[in-house]
Symmetry: C2
Subunit: 246 residues, 2 copies
């Protein structure tokens, strides 16, 4: 397996075509896509292209937002955005607010980001990341004439363990959840660990390259894997019934 | 970044030297280690070398184990092993038992594995994976004359999301938790996502190669990253006080 950071992708603005920007970057980085390659795209450029950069000045916090802002120490306008992006608040307290977004992601602050956005702005997650992944994949496949996978990645913290890891919030053309139920181990017994979150492992692989401090690398190309398929990132979401920690 | 699965590592038995087996595998796979390479080792071969393969026939379940076995539908002898490996039971129910191990890992069944072990046996996690990683690293560095990192990896499920991902349960010579607090974003503001679980991302990268169904690939070599350091896997453990889901 090889993974390459794609450089030379310009800052994305509302209305820009992320696929076009990725193709430019691939050209500049002299990376040729082949059948089976997986293109990992940070959610940031998708969200910016969708116009999900919101000026906090235009946000009027509700009473509920003001109350949670006091308890968390967060900006009430940011809390208002978080609540609007969420279907359920799971936990909050000093400096944290964990929610379930309308997409079904469980994460801090509904995935709203204030890093690498202009002062006074906040960036919401893409509206429908699986659809965005499908659209980027179609454009790249058409331009390149190759069968590709696309993963839209973000970084989430998690219970029990420190630090953030990559997660797939959107995917198209790849296996997201590899179901190995029924397979046998080397002794002929049924495998126990039966489902592997392939798309999250792919996102975490990209994190190792995206995380470069000096330079913005919003796209990573992964070659040499055999994980094309028809999964979506929403396959990775536990329902509440399946979840003993919610 | 490049990642290579190491083939040709024999089945490990109690008392074997994992480092020696890895060196054999590297030879057979014609992989040369260079300064900065990270060697990811599945916990399985470390545990087997430590003699952590236990015959269930030799286990006498306690009353508590029998009771939890009834409620979970698990073998009472397996439950007895799980309880012995744990300092706290967090949740249990039909078909699941989530504990905090003596190491501090929160996972199902105390990480005890019945796949890829002989019928009637169960495999416990290595006793002290950070020390095992350090010992493997010293042996490999001495044999190769290079500065290396070692990560001992397992697969854990997690709340909120389906499927298992790679996690670092032991590490030596690498950055495990990359602390970016104080760094600035492209607009000169302080970064928000401040700690990245690098060693978990490394373990998840290896998962993409370890997961091969046909062949046992217990070791992966990752080249081209710049993450040597002095972290340990225990740096990745949240304390209970830091954890709002425990």
């Amino acid at each position: 397996m090889q993974a390459y950071g794609v450089k030379g992708i310009p800052l994305i603005n509302k209305g820009d075509d992320p696929a076009k920007a990725i193709i430019n970057g691939l050209d500049e980085s002299k990376i040729t896509l082949e059948d089976g390659d997986i293109v990992v795209v940070t959610e940031k450029i998708v969200a910016k292209a969708e116009g999900r950069l919101i000026s906090l000045r235009e946000v009027n916090p509700s009473e509920n937002a003001v109350e949670i802002a006091e308890k968390t120490g967060k900006d009430p306008r940011l809390v208002e955005l978080i609540l609007k992006e969420s279907r359920k608040v799971l936990r909050y307290g000093k400096n944290f607010l964990i929610v379930e977004t309308h997409h079904g992601f469980v994460c801090a602050n509904a995935g709203i980001d204030q890093s690498n956005v202009p002062q006074g702005y906040a960036k919401l997650l893409p509206r429908s990341p699986d659809s965005s992944a499908a659209s980027i994949r179609r454009s790249l496949e058409k331009a390149m004439g190759k069968r590709l996978g696309v993963v839209i990645a973000d970084s989430f913290g998690r219970p029990f363990r420190r630090g953030s890891v990559g997660v797939a919030i959107g995917a198209s053309g790849v296996i997201t959840l590899w179901d190995r139920r029924g397979e046998k181990d080397i002794y002929g017994k049924e495998l126990q660990v039966t489902r592997v979150a392939i798309a999250d492992c792919i996102a975490s692989t990209a994190t190792l390259l995206l995380g470069d401090a000096d330079e913005e690398i919003p796209v990573v190309v992964i070659k040499g894997l055999n994980f094309l398929g028809d999964g979506e990132a929403k396959d990775l979401l536990r329902t509440r019934e399946e979840d003993i920690f919610r």
